[in-house]
Structures are given as C-alpha cells and as structure tokens.
Symmetry: C2
Subunit: 613 residues, 2 copies
C-alpha cells in the first residue's frame, strides 16, 4: 500500500486510492494550516512535494497564480492536491499550525511558544435561507460549521449573534467565524480574514505590563507598561488590603483603578498598532494574589489573616465586559492559576516561562520583592514559599531608597584604595536615591572594599571622610550633594545595611528551608526574576549572601518572566493546562509557623563573604 510521508514530522500515512492531502492531514492530525476549511480560498495550506513515485500532478490555475515557477519544484496547495502514489511532502514552517514562535522583546531570554491560541478563525460558507425548511441564521451557521469542521453544540456570544444577520448578507461568499476552544462563537468577520489579537498582562504591585500579540502570527505588536495606579491607595499589598478593610467601597475603588490602568494600556497598544481594540479577542492575566483578587473584584482581606486562604486558586475565565475591559465584549479574560495568598499567578507564570517544571536541572527561582517568592525544584517536584523580606529590595525603609525610576542609582563602584565612588543611575540622570539593585550593589561593594564587616557594622578605622557620623547614625557618603538632584548627600546608613541584612536573611532562610525540605539536593541553577531581579548583578547577590547555592550554581537574571508566562498562555492554550498542573502539583510551605525558619533567618543575618574583615 503506498504511503505519504509528511515532513518535518516524518509521519508516514498509508493511502487507499486517490487522496486529497488536506483531508489526509486532517484525518491524521498533521498540523497543517488552513483557514478556509479546504474551500480553496485562503492559500495557507502550502506544501512541497519533495519526492514522488508518480509524476507531479499538474498545478491548478490557482496554484500557478500563487507559486509561479515554484510549482515546478513541487509547490502546491494541499487542498488542491490529490496523490495516488508514494510521496514525500514537506509542510514548510509557515504552513504548520501550532508552529513555533519566539517571544523576544523586553528580555534577553527568548521564550519559544507553539502557536495554538484559544480563539481561531474558521472560514465558512453559509447557504441562504429557503422557505422549506425555514432554518434560522444561527442554525444555518452552526450546521455549516459542523459540516466543515465538525464543531458541534456551538454556543454564541450575544456580541457575535447580533452581528450574524448582517454578516451573512454582506455579499461575500463566505464569512470568518471566530471561535473559542471550538465551543463558542465570539466574533464574525464578513470582510475576509483580519487580524486576530490578544493581550497578556502582568499586574504587579508597582508596575503593570501589557503585551499586544497577533494570534495569527505570534508576533508582539506592542509592549506597554504603566505604574499601578493603586499606589495612591497604598504602596504595598498589605496597605491595599487594609484599604479594603477600612473603607466599604475600598475594593470597588481599587478594582476601578486597576481596570482603568489596563484600559489605558489597551488603548495605548491599540493606538500604537493602529488597530481597533474591539479586535482583541482574548486576554491573559498574571499577577500576585492580591493584585489578582483586586482585579477580579474578590475581597482580599482574608489573604492577610491566617491561614491566608485565597478566594480562588484555579484558573478562571471571565468575560471581558464582566471585568470592564474595553476590548471585544465577547472576549474572555483568563486569569492564570495561583498557589497561595503570597504565591500568585505571577510565580506560576514565571515557572511556565522558565520551564523549571519540565527541566531535570535543580533550579532555584527567586522573585525579589516585598514578598520574595521562592521556588525550588525540577520536573519531579516543585516546592515554593513566600518570605516576608520587607520593602528593602524595592527601596523601602532605606534612607535614600526609591523605586527603580529615572535618577535611581542602580550600580555602585568603590575604589578599594581611595574609596572614591562611581555610580550608575537609571537613564543616566543626576542621582536621586537608590533603587533595590543599587542598595545591593552599594552594600556588596562596601563589603568587598572592607567598609562593612560580616555583622554589617562599619569599619570605623577607615581613613576616609566618606565614613562619618550623620544625623541618622553612621553613614557612608555615596554622592555628595552638589552632584545629586536632592540637595543633600546621598548616603548608606548602618540602619540601611541592617534593613538589607534582614531582607536577604529572609530570602536566604526561605530558600535554605526549601532546600532542606527537598532533601538538600544540590542547586544547579539560580534564576532571578522580577523587574528588580533583572538588574541585580549576580556577583553582588553572591557578595551579600542573598541565597544558598551560588557557589556552585549558574546564576541568571530572567527579567519579568511572569509576563512571558502570560504571553505563552495567550499563544498556546496547552500552556494553560500546564500552568494548572504546576499550581496543583507544586507544594507550598508556609514559613511563619516554622521554628527552623527562624533559626535559619538569624543564622543568615551575617554577610559570610565579608569573612573576618
């Protein structure tokens, strides 16, 4: 019996008599693109007959028009090609459905994703109505889709239903039905295939990031970010939860605030891309648990009360109109699953993006922040915890601490002999303060140059006027007032150093505890996630003893991995199931209750790297 071999899959399919290549691919689940459903319209099902026992079939007019001379090299449309003898058929990259795309912008780490979005366009020709039997528009469409694509029991969103009578009478031969999950019609285009768009968000306590993506190509169309406007109701998660407790409309206000922010990003991305936001048909959202709850309108107060139960853990889909987002009203918003009150869907999304759950490498993933989320493990088991590091990593409770904004010092270099200081600020502006990575960098340099002892005290014997007694105790001058934008010397105080010690001890202890619980397996890889993590210098992190394992492990900043996880879930519906599995299988450890955590915390307050200096 002759066979057709499909490349690059190298799948061999026996044929019985003349076989249409598109039908064959469909029957055997070969990922071959076709948006017109074999009506010989879309021209997407390009294949190349690389070898054949029989002569190449004569190209059709349509094929000659589409491929020109390439038809002589075997270029054909699968829907028009019928083979009877053994052949080797290549499906080029661009004709593969579910093909590989790469997420690039905003990070140095490309995240490959298969393109299998939740919403897809289906070309369909719907016969006009006749007197007998009289069949309504909805049923004629449903019947046509069932016949062409085997889609049964189709639900229809009112937005699409209301468009239906006009769309069927637009004068075109067929229409494009936009269907989610082969279950629900969410839109109709009478005007040929158009862009099918989606947007992914990461809602952070401080920053909100949104990616507008083309669901047909996997391309990033626009990347937008903004400060989370909820900051005006409280800088951190706990103060926002308090705001909900103290004010009866607190939750409504916070929800309205973040919804307005997302709408602003949607508008900005749409404007930049020159598209109608009503074409955005799917949204994914990652975020820490409090941000997730506030966005969904779920009371977050119990997140702050033991045992800190979330209202929702599993992924949940809401209609965009339900949440107040200005996209297609029939679009869904997919909230990624979360694990605990302080291990949110951003952590799950980061795992998804970095692939720890599929790797054999024992990996420590740390997201530095007020609540440092820590994940440890590999594909066999994952452990996680959240450690109350306090605000030091975000510049909080630090004399000259500030957010990572223009003018923030992010790197410090100290001459070991002269103690002269050079600083690098964000956007190169005059220094206004220190952001998280700046504080870490400053303290690390002060350790390396012997200014700070292992206990965190200043070496008062040092011969430099930069080390002095100031209003707030001992301090080291980083930038003198004339060079700053704040009218005074920017310094690091002894109190700042002990704030950082507590923060780093919390992270170290959390990670160590997970390592102990996991059987003290050797940590092979450390990934630093988060906006902060992106800029922390690995050497600095090691110098201040930020986490265990750094002596043997590779250390990499992975940037905002959460937004990439959200993008993956947007482009590839299977990734959503993967995220659910991660959330279900990962073990969560509550630290507050464990005496061993307290021991580890106290033990790791010192800077071991500083040695006996």
């Amino acid at each position: 019996m002759p066979s057709i071999i499909f490349r690059p899959l190298d799948k061999s399919i026996p044929i019985h008599g003349p076989s249409n290549l598109l039908d064959l691919a469909r029957s055997y689940d070969i990922p071959l693109k076709s948006t017109c459903g074999g009506k010989k319209i879309c021209g997407k099902c390009k294949i190349i007959i690389e070898d054949s026992d029989a002569p190449l079939p004569a190209p059709s007019e349509h094929e000659i028009e589409t491929f020109g001379d390439l038809t002589q090299k075997g270029y054909r449309l699968a829907c028009e090609t019928v083979l009877t003898e053994r052949a080797i058929v290549r499906i080029p990259e661009e004709s593969q459905s579910g093909r590989q795309v790469i997420l690039t912008s905003g990070t140095h780490h490309p995240y490959p994703a298969r393109l299998i979005p939740k919403v897809e366009s289906y070309y369909v020709e719907v016969p006009p109505p006749v007197l007998v039997p009289l069949i309504c528009d909805r049923e004629r469409l449903a019947n046509a889709l069932a016949e062409a694509y085997g889609i049964k029991r189709l639900r229809i969103d009112p937005f699409a239903l209301r468009k239906l009578p006009r769309a069927l009478r637009s004068g075109h031969k067929g229409i494009f039905a936009v269907i989610r999950d082969r279950k629900e019609l969410v839109d109709l285009h009478a005007d040929g295939e158009k862009e099918l768009l989606g947007m992914a968000f990461d809602i952070g306590t401080t920053t909100v990031v949104g990616y507008l993506m083309d669901l047909n190509s996997g391309e990033e169309i626009s990347v937008q970010s903004a400060l989370n406007p909820q900051i005006s109701f409280g800088d951190d998660v706990i103060s926002r939860i308090s705001f909900c407790q103290d004010s009866p409309e607190g939750l409504d206000k916070l929800r309205a605030s973040i919804v307005a922010c997302l709408n602003q990003l949607i508008a900005a991305a749409s404007a930049e891309a020159g598209i109608d936001p009503a074409r955005i048909m799917e949204i994914t959202v990652a975020g820490n648990t409090a941000m997730h709850h506030l966005f969904a309108g779920l009371d977050p107060r119990y997140l702050a009360m033991a045992p800190y139960p979330p209202v929702l853990q599993a992924a949940e889909d809401f209609k965009a109109k339900e949440l107040g987002l200005n996209v297609a009203p029939s679009a869904y918003v997919h909230l990624l699953p979360l694990k605990a009150g302080f291990v949110g869907s951003d952590t799950i999304a980061s795992i998804l993006a970095t692939g720890i759950h599929k790797s054999t490498i024992e990996t420590l993933l740390i997201d530095l922040g007020t609540n440092g989320e820590i994940v440890l493990g590999n594909r066999d088991r994952l452990l996680c915890c959240s450690t109350a590091a306090g605000p030091a990593f975000e510049g909080g409770h630090i004399r000259f601490g500030m957010r990572a904004a223009a003018g923030a010092i992010e790197r410090v270099n100290i001459d070991p002999v002269t103690f002269k200081v050079r600083v690098k600020t964000i956007h190169g502006e005059r220094a206004r303060g220190l952001c998280g990575s700046g504080i870490i960098s400053a303290v690390a340099e002060m350790i390396r140059t012997g200014i700070i002892s292992d206990k965190g005290g200043f070496n008062r014997g040092l011969a430099t006027p930069r080390l002095r007694k100031g209003k707030y105790g001992s301090e080291f001058v980083l930038v003198s007032s004339s060079m700053t934008d704040v009218g005074e010397d920017i310094t690091i105080t002894e109190k700042d150093v002990s704030q950082l010690q507590m923060a780093k001890a919390a992270v170290y202890a959390g990670a160590s505890l997970l390592n102990e619980l996991g059987g003290r397996k050797k940590i092979e890889r450390i990934l630093l996630a988060g906006a902060g993590g992106n800029y922390v210098d690995p050497l600095d992190a090691c110098t201040i003893d930020l986490f265990p394992g750094y002596k043997t492990a590779t250390l990499t900043g992975v940037g905002n991995a959460a937004i990439h996880g959200a993008c993956l879930a947007l482009l590839n519906r299977n990734k959503r199931k993967e995220a659910e599995r991660i959330a279900r299988k990962m073990a969560y450890q509550e630290l507050a209750a464990l005496p061993r955590f307290q021991e580890l915390f106290v033990e790791n307050m010192v800077f071991k790297q500083a040695g006996g200096v």
Copy 2:
C-alpha cells in the same frame, strides 16, 4: 427481603439491613424534598410511616419538637429515620419535590405545573480553611457541594464568586448555595433559606405582561402589565421593523424601550411584593418573533423579507445583565423557542400551556391579531401558519376602532325589532370607540338582525334612522354623539364591515388550509388565545364565520395562554425541553406562496351564517 413502599407513588424498594429513608429516596429517585442535604436542619423531609412490620422507631428530639404528638401517628423526618423491616411510608404533598402547583390568576383556566425550577437552593456546610493543604474558598465550596449533592464541575458566576468570602465567614454553620441546573452557582445566602424568585414575561406588540413567581412554592406573587412603549415607534410589527431599517440606531432605541418597560414591571412587582429585585434569579420570556428579536437586540429586518428567516429559532439563555434587566446580575433570561418569522415563542408557549401537543383531541388554536397565528393538530402532529389578517381585530383601519382600553365597546346588543342598540364598554366608561371584540360583536349582531347581508352589504330597505348615508359611505349608528366621549356618533361603516370580512377570511382560509393539509380531520376543539381572543364571544365568532369547524367543535377562550406557557417554563425546567420539541416537530406552512390560500380567502369573504337575508 423486606421492602419499603413509598406512597403515593406506590414504589416498592427492597432494603438490605438498616436503611435511612432519605438516602433510600435519593438512591431510587423518589421525589422527596430536602433543602439541607440530609444535615437534619431544614425539616422539609417530612414523611408518615403508615404501616410497619416492626414497632415505630423512637422519635428524635428534633422530630418531637417538629411534630409533637403526631410522632405517635408515624410522623418523622426521613433524614433521621432508619428502618429495617417492611413498611409503608407516605410522602405528603408538601414534602414532594417537583410537586403540583396551579397557575390561576388572569384567566379562568388553571394550568397545573410541576415545580422543578431551573435554579434551586442547596444547604451546605463548608469547612474552614487550614494551612495544610491550603484550599481556596471556591474549591472548598465546590468540594462540599460535590460531597453533599454530587454536583461536579461547578461553574461560578462572578456575582456569586464575589459574595463567597464573606458568605463563608458570616458566622452561620452553613450557607445556601443557589445553583442553576446543577451546573452554575448564581447566588449565595448566608442568612438561611430565603425566597427564590423568578419572573415570566409575554412581550406582545401592544401589551407586556409580567408574573413574579416564588420558585420555592410556585405561588404567583405579583402580576403586572403595561403597554409596550415601542408603540411610539410604530403601532405594529411591520412599522417597527421599518423603523430599524430607516434609522441606524433604530434597533438600539427599540431595545432600550422594551428593556425599560420590563424593568418597570420588575420594579412594580418587586415593590408590590416587598422584595429586593436582586432576588429574582431566573426569567422566561415569550413573545412574537419581532418582539423577541428586538428584546434580544437582533436585527429584525430580514423577518420582513422572503423567506422571512428569524436570526434565532431555538431557545436561548442570556445573562440578565447582558440584556440590561435589573434583577440578579447572575440570573439568566430564557427566551422560549420560536418557529418562524411570524409564528413566535408566544405561540409555542400557548401550545405548551394548553397542552395541545399532548392531547388526542384535534384542536384549532387561534391567536387573533394583526398576524393571526393558527395551530392545528394533536399529539401526533402539529401544523401552524400565520395569516396576515390586517389590523381589524385590534381596532385598526376601522372608522371608530381603538385598542382594548377603557371606553372601548366590547359587546353590542341590537333589538331585532326596534334596532335599538345597547353596548358594553371596558370599565363601563362612556363609549370612545370599538375594540376588536366590539367590532366582531357589532357585525355579528347586525348579521343576526338582518342589517347586513352575507356579502357584507347593508340592507338598505330597513326602516330605521340608524342606517344612513354618512360622510364615509353607508353606516349604522351604534351610539349617538350625546352618549359618547368623542363628540360624534359612533358608527359601523360598510367599509368597516369589509375590513372585518378580509380579516376573518384570512383567518378562516389559514385554518381551512391547515385542515386540508392535515387530511381534513374533524376539528374537535377550538381555543381562542390572546388578549383579544379572551373577550370574543364564541357565538359572535361563529356568526361571522371566523373559523371552520365551529359547528361541531367546542369553543373556548383561553386568554393570554402565552404568559402561562412562560410561567410553566419558569416553574418547570422540563417544560423548556417540551417547548423545544414542539418548535422542532411542528410543521410550518408559509401561506403567501400558496394559490389554494388565495382561493380559500376569496371563498370565505362572505358571512355564510347570514344566509340569503
């Protein structure tokens, strides 16, 4: 093996050892009420042990408290009763789930309905959260419902989800979960079982009626009606469809207008009943196809173009918030199925209410109106058509025609010797014109007294000044100006008579045609539906030859059967499936295309009863 016999079903169930009666009833699908799921709280599962081979089991404290001395007569709670020997157990009417209720108001015809609403309350106790394993509120609720009631894969509407964290922490032991179709949580009550309400609507071209019902008891709580405010955009269906065609916001305006009307009825019913409209959890709607489309926001323009296809035929559920109704935002609005552009869900609902589809009696159901919907058949087959009767039955195109409102003449009596006329007006007010039944009554009396010939002409030889030549041709004075509220004589003109002849000929021809298509079966019963139909005197209808079969059939006015069908669908979810089956199985005949209809129409322009007078 001993058995328990459940009465009044007389179902015998074998038992193997000690058996709890509630468990037994559940396992064998005996319709026994229990809203607490066997937690011994609700006290709804009352049963009476009528006979028993063993002595009666000792009553529990709870049972003694509930039933007092009746415990000696075998009164027990099924959830607390364990039997080991043969017994006869009666489930009293009030403990039967799915028990019979009667729809009464607004008509003389009681419609019995089983009470099996789409939304039901489930009592559930949800364990508090613990640290390990940390399970979110949603999942703890879902698990508890799965365990107590076997409800799996529960969806949760955001309205209910947002109530969840507070409801679980209200301090009560359990909560009541309001679940639709055992699939979707739509509300939560932390405060004990409360009313569960629903509302049924019939949206007519002229009148809108709404029934507020208690879904726990099947009681009618409030009946409201209003003029359809769309009248200001056009009196009849066709003029409203034109309004949609002519104005780009026509559809939006008409939709907003009917939604406001329903909201007004919802507010009025809620106020009358003293309930919060947010407790209304389910809505059913019947209406003619154009009203259905306008309410759902579906472009109706194609209903007026051959082959007159509706956008939607099958029943469809919309969220109430989607349609803009001010009830629980999680409530669903169920639009009953329809058949054709001019055979709407009101006709299907009327069939449902009158039970033609389950009867052996060959029945003709007629809804008089601008479009007279006609149904003929029995449980074996149903035929339907719509006949363009014109507006005469609603007082349109009649010199003194008016809607059935205060002051409209609804009955006329003419002395056969003196030709003196007595009229009965709606609410007994001074005559302002004639409504549909008044026109029919007047013409019928004029036939009976020989004023009108079989061709519809006036008998000019009559010696009465009431018969005269007026501005608009020959006319017969019914009420002289001094007795009217319009400042002139109210008359019936020869033209009015011919308008009625055309209208009645259309109905007669439609019904005759269905009778011919159905094999000329003898019509045994004629039901006159609709607000108009309710008041047409059967004798008058016969006198003017309104329909075939009246010589042998019984003739009954069934009032607004459509609203009762909508109520049935509200109280009993199985009725919705029945409605779907009716819509699918009934054959629709388009009349416009049939020459035989034209023949019958012309043939039946005459009043046969008038004989040769």
